[in-house]
Amino acid sequence: MSEKNTENPEILSTVLAGYCQCQVCYQPFNETTKLARSLHCGHTFCTECIRNVQNYGNSPHLECPTCRAETKSNIENVAPNFSIMELARNFGLLGPPVDAPRTSSSCCSNKTNRDEMIDNKFRELLVEVKSSLIHHFDVFRIKSQLWSLAEAEREVSNMAEALAGAVSECYYDSDDNSDANSEDQRVRTMLRFLAARDSDSETTEDSTDFLESNTTVPDRTLGGGFYRNFRRLFGDENELDDPGVVSGIEEAAAYRRFRGLFGNDNDSISQVSTTSGSFGNHENDHFCPFSDDDNISECSDDYYPTLVMPETDEEETYKSFRCLFGDENGNLDFSDDEKEFSDNESSLSSVSTEDFPNSHIEEAGRVLHRFLLLSALLNEE
């Protein structure tokens, strides 16, 4: 038998290659992860297979894959088979060295880095859309006085489409370096964007009827979410870092910023910036913040006459504000003044949609509504 093998070099090389590979995984030995090791019974296997036998085997000891003899030690104490390694090296039958596999901590680190990247992308998105939105609304406010209703609707629809496109485009960029799981996430996000746009188109259809447009007012449970997103867009850096609980004072500040965007030229921006530091009563300021309980009865007399005898421009702005942050009936939720507010329900009912024929401000508010929906959607992700 041995004579026959030595006479045929081809058979000899095949036999040698067989001896220089592991009999379990059929891979050549190498000098890193597949070092040849001999169990105590003398049978030789690579390091990786011996470790797997130890991990997955039924026996508490190392059991030989060939003869089932037990090796009463851990893999660290199984000696390398230097003869086999030398033989393989000299005949050029060693496999290529393989680097150690990645540890689980590096996997966790990669996941954390991806989450941070997505979060940073989201913050960049907010800054970018905030600037673009302020610019668009300034132009919109000026031009809206000249537009017909049909032109206003078309412009609003284009603006909403541009916002949705910008949001989805920026969001997808953050997935470029992600693994295959982000593909499912991208598809899921796309479907939700389509759903949001479909709901927007339904809203647009209702906008042709002033009375029916009230049905698109969000319900009470969504008001808080809208308010938080509003502050995230238009608040300063400190407010973004520390979103607080909704209160009367904060609501008054938000209202002034809102009026600065959608009011006419009489509501100057300088006036808003002047009063932003204080919340006391002002001679020309009809909005009355309920900073504490002691002033409720005193301030209410000044508050409700503005509803009974309104200035047209200011009331239009106020209605858009209620459209965004109010409940189903358009009432603002002043929890501190709940009882007295309900007592004056009759005066509130005197305000109706027909008193505000100009719908431009409402359209602008509706665009902001849609963007806040998209922001809330991103926030959920």
């Binding site: 009999q23 379990v24 059929y26 991990n55 997955y56 085997g57």
Partner: protein, 199 residues
């Protein structure tokens, strides 16, 4: 499936296909899916046994830790054998359980099952009814095993008497496989089988 398992299975499948022993030993492997997690095995019934002339199919499922965990093998062809469940095809074989070793291959597994068909072990049975018949009524066992080979594994031995009994139960509305199974378990006593079915 791990890289080791995939590479090894590729080689094992080549080994079985190219082995010149196939025509002599009568074992064959058929790959069912590309990732090699499900494989169909074929074993020709050994000569000089009740299973001669039959071709038996087996379902082989490869676990993730293969070859450090044994494959899950069972007959998909019904067979009358003390160490194989006549209902489910589960095999009682030590190398498929605690005596598995990582150097065993699909070829050695199929050869071991074929050897088990030659030499049953009734003292360590998978099917107690078959084992009892094997030990107490060896002639009935042989005839029954031959009948099952003919009925389910394309065997050649005909048994007109047993077929007539099966036809009687079928006339009573019993499904054929159930009729064969009940008659075999009751040593082909038509009265006891009828009572067993309709009681």
């Amino acid at each position: 499936m791990s890289n080791i398992a995939f590479n090894r299975l590729q080689r094992e499948c080549k080994e079985v296909v190219t082995n010149s022993e196939i025509s002599e030993t009568g074992i064959m492997i058929e790959i069912l899916n590309e990732n090699l997690t499900e494989i169909k095995g074929h074993i020709r019934g050994p000569p000089d046994t009740p299973y001669a002339g039959g071709m038996f199919d087996l379902d082989i499922k490869i676990p993730d830790q293969y070859p450090f965990s044994p494959p899950n093998v069972k007959f998909s062809t019904k067979i009358w054998h003390p160490n194989v469940s006549s209902q489910t095809g589960v095999i009682c074989l030590d190398i498929l359980k605690d005596q598995w070793a990582a150097s065993l291959t699909l070829r050695t597994v199929l050869l071991s099952i074929q050897a088990l068909m030659c030499t049953p072990e009734p003292k360590d049975p998978q099917d107690a009814v078959v084992a009892k018949q094997y030990m107490e009524k060896p002639a009935v066992f042989k005839a029954t095993a031959e009948y099952w080979t003919t009925k389910f594994a394309k065997g050649a031995v005909k048994n007109a008497g047993y077929q007539a009994l099966v036809d009687k139960l079928k006339d009573m509305g019993v499904r054929e496989e159930e009729a064969v199974s009940v008659l075999s378990c009751n040593n082909w006593d038509i009265n006891r089988s009828t009572v067993y079915i309709f009681s």
